[in-house]
């Protein structure tokens, strides 16, 4: 395949240079440091971009203008917010469990950072292509609920506790649906590895190849991850009109900003996984054996494909947020246990039949 910018050359160049110049242990350490800095940089950049995007999308949905005074077209708005949150006072109120209260935002942040590892940002550009990539993502994303429960309990505040418990119930139950819809693609691919899943889509994305069951799985996945990242219409954990701020009621300044950032990073990650599973990740739009068409599509760099798809899904989630009213907690649990989960289970049976009989393209 022809690509204009190939990240593999760049990473190989750095890798080779490091191992030629230094002894292996040092080279490994330097690589770790480089990856760490890159991930933190990506975090900061994504946080700024996504917060601004949320505000602009909300303005677009509500026929407003959105931030447009700070910097050109309001582009510096989220930078100003970040700087303000950095220099704002970070309180630790009396009566909280200090250790857990201060630990919780970092746990949320670390969980979000660990999730970056198996995501393929472009062709041959991946931090850790481990053989259980998708399962790893499912596993680590369940650590997030612990951070929320910790924050909610240690705040010593009834709103926080209620928000945390709601959030726990919600995340644990919606994880099942998300897992089932991830499994549909795993069944079709026959592998949990992210790179395998992406290469399996080189002649068409699963959402096209897998007939209607995969489409259903995609819809269920989007609903479930919207709930799992605690975003409206499923933002029971921080329902402002009922719980003032939910689990982060008592957090201020930078500790709150870490929660805020972790939420947006989680949104990015679930959308990236969704794009990888259903929309082919960095794989350009290929249609079967149409060589000419595929060749044209290959000229668009793979990172552009990946970020394009991911941001499309993020836009979808923001669209949900500013369109639907919030669900009540019983409606939320009913939706999961009475509709999504049974549909998902039947759906995975259908997909298994399709995969065994090789009906997919």
């Amino acid at each position: 395949m022809q690509h204009m910018w190939n990240f593999a050359q760049l990473t190989d160049l750095i890798h080779g240079w490091l191992y030629e110049t230094f002894p292996p242990a040092w080279a490994l350490a330097f690589e770790m440091i480089i990856v760490g800095i890159a991930v933190i940089g990506l975090f900061a950049g994504l946080g700024l971009v996504l917060v601004l995007m949320e505000r602009k999308v909300s303005a677009f949905m509500q026929i407003r203008l959105g931030p447009n005074r700070v910097g050109p077209k309001g582009l510096m708005q989220s930078l100003a917010d970040t700087l303000k949150l950095l220099v704002k006072e970070g309180m630790t109120p009396d009566g909280v469990d200090r250790f857990l209260f201060n630990l919780a935002p970092f746990i949320a942040m670390i969980a979000a950072m660990l999730l970056m590892a198996p995501i393929a940002f472009a062709k041959d550009f991946q931090i850790w292509d481990l053989n259980i990539g998708v399962l790893y993502v499912t596993a680590i994303s369940s650590l997030n609920v612990i951070a929320i429960l910790m924050a909610g309990w240690s705040s010593n505040n009834k709103y926080s506790l209620l928000g945390a418990m709601r959030s726990g119930a919600q995340i644990v139950s919606y994880e099942l649906s998300a897992g089932l819809s991830i499994l549909t693609v795993v069944v079709l691919t026959g592998s949990l590895q992210i790179s395998d899943i992406v290469t399996a889509q080189s002649n068409g994305w699963w959402i096209f190849k897998g007939h209607i069951p995969v489409l259903i799985a995609f819809v269920i996945y989007m609903i479930a991850v919207t709930a799992e990242t605690n975003r409206a219409p499923f933002d029971m954990a921080e329902a402002e009109s009922e719980l003032t701020g939910g689990f982060h009621t008592e957090y201020s300044g930078m500790k709150f900003a870490l929660f805020f950032l972790a939420e947006y990073i989680n949104v990015f990650i679930v959308c990236a996984i969704g794009a990888t599973l259903f929309l082919g990740g960095w794989m350009p739009l290929h249609i079967g054996e149409w060589t000419a068409f595929n060749g044209i599509m290959d000229w668009i760099p793979s990172s552009v494909w990946f970020f394009g798809k991911t941001f499309f899904l993020i836009f979808l989630m923001m669209w949900f947020r500013w369109t639907f009213p919030r669900l009540r907690i019983d409606q939320l649990l009913n939706l999961e246990w009475r509709y999504l989960l049974p549909i998902g289970m039947v759906n995975i049976l259908l997909v298994t039949v399709i995969a065994i009989l090789k009906w997919h393209f």
Binding site: L100, I132, I140, V145
Partner: protein, 172 residues
């Protein structure tokens, strides 16, 4: 010293120290959090041994399931903010003595017993191999335990549904 060795000792320290804190602390919520970090340390050990599937399952089951279950039951049944009463001195000493004695015996056995360390080819730890073994009926298959556990799970699910079902309102 290799980097791997350092990582191993860090993970071992995390596991053991947080396990000890989990049984030692007097606040029940903190105890649950320490337990969770100990279990994550074990998952790290699995990653260290390159059993990625076992590690991921460990995190899914314990962080996603059991820790949340324990924390919820703490919230719903205990007064999570209060300190638990300290156990009587005699019981502490007896328990510590029993644990140390058992530990010593096990260590004696461990040191005395030479385990074979064959240089066999690397094990196929892929998920599909584990899956085949789970459903194999032959000499080293796990079909029977798998089915028994499935039956147990089914019973548990039905029990959950029965408990959660709303009692029918009495028809007048």
């Amino acid at each position: 010293m290799k980097g791997e060795t350092i990582v191993f000792y860090l993970l071992a320290a995390l596991t053991l120290v947080s396990a000890a804190m989990a049984v030692g602390t007097r606040r029940i919520f903190r105890s649950a959090v320490y337990l969770l970090s100990s279990l994550i340390g074990i998952a790290g050990l699995y990653f260290w041994m390159r059993f990625e599937f076992a590690a991921a399952v460990q995190i899914v089951v314990y962080a996603g399931g059991i820790a949340v279950l324990i924390i919820f039951s703490v919230f719903l049944t205990q007064r999570a903010g209060d300190d638990m009463p300290t156990p009587p001195m005699l019981r502490t000493i007896a328990a510590a003595g029993a644990a140390l004695l058992g530990m010593g015996l096990v260590m004696l056995q461990l040191v005395a017993h030479p385990f074979p360390t064959p240089a066999v080819a690397e094990v196929d730890r892929s998920v599909s191999a584990i899956g085949r073994r789970m459903l194999a009926t032959g000499d080293d298959g796990f079909a029977l335990p798998f089915e028994v556990v499935s039956l147990l799970l089914l019973a548990a699910m039905i029990g959950c549904i029965v408990i959660a079902m709303r009692a029918k309102p009495n028809q007048p």
